[in-house]
């Protein structure tokens, strides 16, 4: 009996999914958008805009640990560009913090800091920059150009002379050529998936209501859960296809690598798809017409593009905007996907972001299910 019930439910679910794919294949505009939007965006966003950045999460490895080195760090802090989030004595820990994306910049002061300062021609300080994020490399260049003077206009370690910029060595990790495409392409996956999942799915669900199909569906044995899952399933597949399009075009046109494992990447994409589907479902319970659904979807899309760290560095935003960005799934997905694609991070290392995505999904599902039930009444 239970098995029969299950078979019947699967049969209904499959029927809904088949119907959705059939309808989608006949809607040429939407079908074209599924392929066209990723292609268009990857070309459009090929160029990014640089903005000033402040309070970058920075890890400091001070091997000299002298009054001079501490003075130097204080000078760096005074520029307000960096915020010393971690100090460490271990190169391994520094590398781990960078790879996990917890620090965007690292300042390494060598043991023989003073000696290099006085006589040596070798670089005095090494600054490591996370090149997988937009514009950070430019910022680091700015730091190197900061005249490191004391209050009295005299640096204790420079003998009154300005420290010449070239004596601070800057290395851009993960994206040595500082190419915008390398920063944009991974984040673009999240943007496109947000569009597909929120825009298309909320539209698809609201369409049934708008055209009066829902009234007929409610009178059939189809449950609302079967309807939802059946309708959303094709879009999960579409999302994975779009991810693949971006990866292929990114590698082919812009030589964007996938340093981490593809399995991790697709697993992360699936988690993100689930979270944004939750958002799409929620939007569909708010909107009465497809037009309203599109407006609401754009309302969520715009902050996602602007605040998620896709276009502008997270650290450069005012605190209020950062709080808002914390609520957006794309913010967390960007951290995960840049880690996997560019820094070769493993998925479990992004447990914090994954947890946030799961939390977002849970809240959205609860709200959507509660609201959808009411709507049937």
């Amino acid at each position: 009996m239970a098995a029969n019930k299950f078979t019947a439910a699967v049969r209904r679910l499959r029927a809904v999914a088949t119907k959705e794919v059939r309808q989608l294949s006949r809607d040429r505009v939407t079908f074209g958008m599924i392929v066209g939007v990723p292609l268009m965006q990857i070309i459009l966003f090929g160029y990014a805009i640089n903005y000033d950045v402040r309070n970058l999460a920075t890890v400091v490895q001070d091997e000299a640990n002298s009054s001079m080195s501490r003075e130097f760090i204080a000078q760096l802090k005074a520029t307000q560009v960096i915020h010393v989030s971690y100090t460490t004595n271990s190169s391994d820990e520094l590398a781990r913090l960078m790879r996990e994306g917890r620090a965007s910049m690292a300042v390494v002061i060598p043991r023989d800091f003073e000696r290099r300062l006085q006589s040596d021609t070798r670089p005095v300080v090494q600054i490591l920059v996370d090149g997988s994020q937009p514009q950070l490399a430019v910022v680091a260049g700015g730091i190197a150009a900061v005249p490191l003077l004391t209050r009295h206009g005299e640096g204790p370690y420079s003998g009154g002379k300005r420290m010449t910029p070239r004596r601070i060595e800057i290395r851009t990790l993960y994206n040595p050529e500082k190419r915008t495409a390398v920063q944009i392409v991974p984040a673009l996956i999240g943007v496109i998936l947000t569009m597909t999942m929120v825009l298309f799915t909320s539209g698809a669900i609201v369409r049934e209501r708008e055209r009066g199909n829902l009234e007929l569906l409610i009178a059939t044995p189809l449950s609302s859960l079967e309807l939802m899952v059946g309708k959303l399933l094709p879009y999960v597949v579409i999302g994975l296809i779009q991810t693949t399009i971006i990866l292929i075009v990114g590698a082919w046109l812009f030589s964007v690598p996938v340093v981490g494992r593809l399995v991790d990447l697709y697993a992360a994409a699936l988690m993100f798809i689930a979270a944004t589907l939750g958002l799409g479902l929620f939007v569909s319970t708010l909107a009465q017409t497809q037009f309203q659904a599109f407006q609401l979807a754009f309302l969520t899309l715009l902050p996602s593009i602007l605040l998620s760290g896709f276009m502008f560095p997270f650290e450069g935003m005012p605190v209020a905007a950062q709080w808002l960005a914390e609520l957006l799934p794309l913010t967390h997905f960007n951290v995960i996907i840049r880690g996997i694609m560019l820094r070769g991070a493993d998925l479990p290392e992004a447990w914090l972001q994954l947890t946030k995505l799961a939390g977002f999904l849970t809240v959205m599902l609860i709200v959507a299910v509660v609201r959808f039930k009411k709507r049937l009444d």
Binding site: R11, K19, E215, L216, A219, T220, P221, L222, D377
Partner: protein, 314 residues
């Protein structure tokens, strides 16, 4: 299977409110199975809301209803398997073909056995064979309606709820449609149909007249017409005169309707010399017309039953 003589639907004090508005106001129903039962009422009278409560789409605000002895609140799922519903608006998928719509509905109802054969059977019954690959959106009103009925009856439901099924089709399609309803009823199905067409209402086995959410009259069409609380007079030869206005001014006249050259006057039955009074009035204004008592039509029943005084309003 429910045989004739059993009750398919019962409702007691069934009520639905939307905010302050009472859409359905304490309705009692006892609908026998194997019959065609009609809801006659103007738009917005609560017919659709009642149908929606009976198929478990809307919860009653007060009262209760049972379909096949099952509660519409607690057993909605069990009821849905035995029920076919045709909403007022065409609700199949316009971008799917006739066959695709039918197969989709067959899957939703979990049809057993040879599904293709059952669909083919429905195609023949509802004259859809020439439309197999045609998308529903490009069909005419009559074709859409046949497809909708074919979809609603695919799983051979014991109860069919039809919400103004003929509002978008031509007269010939309406006639054919009713032929099919009688065939379905002969096959044992109970059919509940809402309409605002008098001729359709007259074809029902049983009829409830609904106005402003209340059931104002109920019975067989014949009994309703025989028991109308009015005397009907037909006046011939008064067309083009001011007779309608003059007659309407009489306090005991409930309504005047013009039908071609004839006027139909609904008079309060308590006035014994109505015919004489009408004649005198016409004569007084030099209108030469014939006045005679006639049988009530269903429309007369409807007009009398939905008079504002009847509904407790002035």
């Amino acid at each position: 299977m429910n045989g004739t003589g059993q009750t398919a639907i019962t409702a007691r004090q069934l009520t639905r409110k939307f905010g302050d508005k009472v859409a359905v106001d304490h309705i009692d129903l006892d609908i026998p199975s194997g019959r065609i039962y009609g809801f006659l009422g103007p738009n917005g009278s609560g017919k659709s809301t009642t149908l929606r409560m009976l198929c478990g789409m809307l919860l009653p605000s007060e009262g209760h209803a049972e379909v096949f002895g099952l509660s519409v609140v607690n057993d909605a799922e069990a009821i849905r398997r035995r029920l076919g519903y045709m909403p007022q608006k065409f609700s199949l998928w316009e971008d799917l073909t006739c066959d695709e719509n039918l197969s989709f509905m067959a899957e939703l109802y979990g049809l057993e056995g040879d599904v293709e054969a059952r669909i083919a059977e429905q195609r023949i019954t509802y004259n859809l064979d020439g439309l197999r690959k045609q998308r529903a959106g490009t069909m005419s009103g009559g074709q859409k309606q046949r497809l909708a009925l074919a979809a609603a009856t695919l799983h051979a439901p014991e109860l069919l709820l039809l919400d103004e099924p003929t509002s978008a089709v031509d007269p010939q399609s309406r006639r054919d449609f009713w032929e099919r309803l009688f065939q379905l009823a002969d096959g044992g199905a109970t059919i509940l149909v809402s309409t605002h067409y008098m001729d359709e209402a007259e074809r029902c086995h049983g009829l409830a007249i609904i106005a402003e959410g209340r059931m104002v009259a109920e019975g067989t069409p014949r009994a309703l017409m025989a028991g109308v609380e009015a005397h009907i007079y037909e006046i011939e030869g008064a067309d083009g005169s001011e007779a309608p206005r003059l007659i309407r001014e009489l306090s005991w006249v409930h309504g005047v309707t013009q039908l071609g050259i004839r006027l139909r006057v609904l008079a309060d039955p308590s006035v014994k010399d109505a015919e004489a009074q009408l004649r005198a009035l016409l004569k007084q204004h030099d209108i030469d017309a014939r006045v005679e008592l006639t049988d009530a039509s269903l429309e007369d029943v409807f007009v009398v039953a939905t008079r504002p005084e009847k509904l407790g309003r002035k």
